[in-house]
């Protein structure tokens, strides 16, 4: 089959590799019909996540048709159409039973590596480094899904791939990020990053009762999308002083909740930005956190800073003083996708949300190398790329 493989910083290639097969009784194999590139994949592309190896198959957002099931998978059958969640979770352990699926204790075969780095291991993740399991990902024609009796959700007929694909990650991620903010009616929610995660966090903030949503980014078409599709007021952080503007909008108090949907490679302007870039290049810190710093400073006293943005290791100059003295609550985590798929699917099915608006490109799998570059550099108005492993439906740039 064809698969998108990591070969080093700025180097992904589509290669011919063997087809996957069932390795454990609870596995299933799907023929992938749609798969997407995520902001998280950019951290791999840019070489900031350790324990990647040449030849690793990428991709954690995918859906498809079941073509084989292991002997212990009773709820799926060949031919079922499913969306697969990016965290690999067993469903049996303490955390899975608490519905904290991304903290599954059993799904990472290389847990010891993550334990060395973080003290404890989270779940395994598709196509996301050996430290997180070394599982082959789904930017490929076929994919193997462990614990297939727990993860994948069946999709009813009548919904397109484009409508449901993002149940695999970015829609639940935006939703969980907003849910973590403990939004009360009328709250002001500010969101850094108007990428797919940020946009879905904005939509979710409305669903959860926000009174005002503010988007902070610098990419015009993304800000435009935030305004038109997600009802956000927009701030271009290169044009205005974000802290002043947010204070202005909230009578000086600051947003009730701040969401950091940018992650470890935030655009870092100014002197402090230069400092971060040098330290990150020397691997003295592994992430650049300007948006996080700003979110912490902007947040109102007693407010919540919710961080879906991914960080891998260490960052510098986090304003701990502000966190303590303003009594802030910090929330973070890889998303417990399995918890949100069914309720969000229902909202999609009854027409409440249509996540497909973020798609700007539908390309054949072979175009993955160019797609990564375009998505990373935000070229050609790119917000979200869907790859079509079998070529069908690869319409190129999408006009909405």
């Amino acid at each position: 089959m064809k698969a998108t493989c990591w070969h080093g910083t700025n180097d992904v290639r589509v290669e011919d590799v063997p087809d996957p097969h069932i390795l454990n009784p609870r596995d299933a194999i799907v023929r992938v019909t749609s798969t997407a590139i995520c902001g998280s994949d950019l951290h791999l592309y840019d070489g900031y996540i350790p324990t990647m190896m040449k030849g690793d198959i990428l991709g954690h957002e995918f859906m498809g048709e079941v073509v084989a099931v292991g002997s212990a998978v009773k709820n799926l059958k060949v031919g079922d159409r499913v969306v697969n969640p990016f965290p690999i979770a067993c469903g049996n352990c303490f955390f899975c039973q608490e519905e904290q699926f991304s903290l599954c204790e059993n799904s990472n075969p290389n847990a010891w590596m993550a334990e060395k780095m973080w003290g404890h291991s989270p779940c395994g993740i598709f196509g996301y480094s050996h430290m997180l399991g070394g599982y082959a990902g789904g930017q490929a024609q076929f994919a193997r899904i462990p614990y297939a009796d727990v993860g994948p959700i069946k999709i009813p007929d009548g919904l397109s791939d484009e409508q449901v694909l993002f149940l695999s990650d970015v829609l639940p991620t935006g939703y969980m990020a907003a849910e973590a903010c403990d939004i009360k009616p009328g709250h002001v929610v500010a969101v850094w990053g108007a990428g797919p995660v940020g946009l879905f966090a904005m939509l979710s903030a409305w669903l959860l009762g926000a009174g005002k949503v503010v988007a902070i980014d610098r990419v015009p078409e993304r800000l435009q999308m935030a305004k038109e599709k997600c009802g956000a007021e927009i701030l271009d952080y290169e044009q205005v002083d974000v802290l002043d503007a947010l204070a202005e909008m909230t009578g000086g108090r600051g947003p009730d909740a701040c969401i950091e949907a940018v992650g470890m490679e935030a655009h870092a302007p100014g002197l402090l930005g230069a400092y971060d870039k040098v330290k990150q290049a020397l691997r003295l810190e592994t992430g650049r956190p300007p948006a996080l710093r700003q979110a912490i400073r902007a947040c109102r006293n007693g407010g919540t800073v919710s961080i879906p943005g991914v960080f891998g290791g260490l960052i510098d100059k986090v304003p701990m003083g502000a966190i303590v003295n303003k009594a802030l609550t910090l929330k973070s985590g890889q998303t417990h996708v399995q918890r949100y798929m069914a309720p969000l699917l229902e909202r999609i099915a009854n027409g409440e949300i249509d996540p497909s608006f973020i798609i700007t490109h539908e390309l054949p799998l072979e175009a993955a190398p160019q797609a990564y570059e375009m998505f990373r550099d935000k070229k050609d108005d790119c917000v979200k790329v869907v790859l079509k492993p079998w070529g069908d439906g690869a319409v190129g740039k999408v006009v909405h």
Binding site: C5, M53, I57, F94, Q97, Y147
Partner: protein, 300 residues
């Protein structure tokens, strides 16, 4: 086993640091003092090497390898001094004294390395003879004490998660263990000496076995009746000679890590019915490092 930090190694560590810093700070003056032509770049390079060795010596509790690194460094210095003797601009008198000093230090380094190496080996062997190699571990498992007990009580389940155990046949209180060894297997019979349902099991090898082993497992109910904490202890008293070496290898350099991985697999099997794996999944073309690592022990 803790050994006192060897004083000689420490002293040599500080010596390395001091010398290295001097080489870094005043490379020219130092060159003049030992009578060789000035080459600050080389001198600073040597200084960095010294500092590295010094830090290694001071940071490790039993720095045998770092002592040998010093010996290697000394040999390199002697070779450089020897080469310098043949240069035009060398003050041969001074360089000869410097060489003699280095030779003296070399002898001291080699002595320290050999002595520490020997005492380490003796210490390890003595400790093994006296106490065997007991390893203990505890792990929270999301199954009741009764379920865990029932699973463990059937010793033929143990090879499903104990990496080195090939098979166990059990009959009543007796079990026959076959354990993988380099170039073959080792076997012994064990018997259960304490059996408290849903609570604990203790077993030991029967009298006259080649390998004296002993183990227990205890299932402590988890907080609020959820799951349990499994405590396990395994001890092997290896005989001397080849088998002793085998057990040293069996548990590798880090027996704690081995039991941790085995117990992780126990948890996975009893909670999920399988051990997660990526062995056999497709990959793109691996680089050289990847191909080498793929043969490694724990990377999937």
């Amino acid at each position: 086993m803790e050994f006192e930090h060897p004083r000689l190694a420490r002293a040599l560590g500080w010596f390395s640091l001091g010398l290295g810093l001097t080489q870094l700070a005043v490379p020219r003056q130092l060159s003049r003092a030992i009578g060789v032509g000035e080459n600050p770049l080389l001198m600073r390079g040597l200084g960095l090497r010294e500092i590295g060795t010094g830090v290694g010596l001071l940071a490790r509790p039993r720095p045998v390898n770092w002592l040998w690194a010093r010996v290697a460094g000394d040999v390199m210095d002697l070779a450089l001094l020897g080469a310098a003797m043949r240069q035009q601009d060398t003050d041969r008198q001074k360089t000869l004294w410097a060489s003699l000093a280095v030779a003296g230090v070399t002898a001291l380094d080699a002595f320290a390395a050999m002595r520490l190496g020997r005492s380490l080996k003796e210490g390890v062997e003595a400790a093994r003879r006296e106490r065997g190699i007991p390893v203990e571990h505890s792990l929270a498992v999301n199954r009741s004490p009764a379920e865990c007990y029932r699973f463990w009580r059937r010793f033929d389940n143990l090879p499903r998660f104990m990496k080195h155990v090939e098979s166990i046949e059990c009959e009543g209180n007796r079990s026959h263990w076959v354990v993988r060894a380099p170039g073959g297997t080792v076997e012994w019979d064990a018997e259960i000496v304490e059996d408290r349902p849903d609570d604990r099991i203790r077993w030991r090898s029967v009298e006259g076995s080649d390998v004296e082993t002993y183990g227990w497992v205890r299932f402590e109910p988890g907080p609020q009746g959820r799951g349990c904490t499994v405590h396990v202890c395994l001890r092997y008293d290896p005989p001397g000679g080849a088998l002793g070496a085998f057990f040293a290898r069996l548990f590798g350099e880090n027996p704690e890590r081995q039991i941790r991985e085995d117990m992780r697999h126990f948890k996975q099997v009893i909670e999920t019915g399988e051990i997660p794996t990526t062995q056999g999944q497709p990959t793109g073309s691996r680089g050289l490092i990847g191909r080498t690592l793929a043969h490694g022990r724990h990377l999937s």
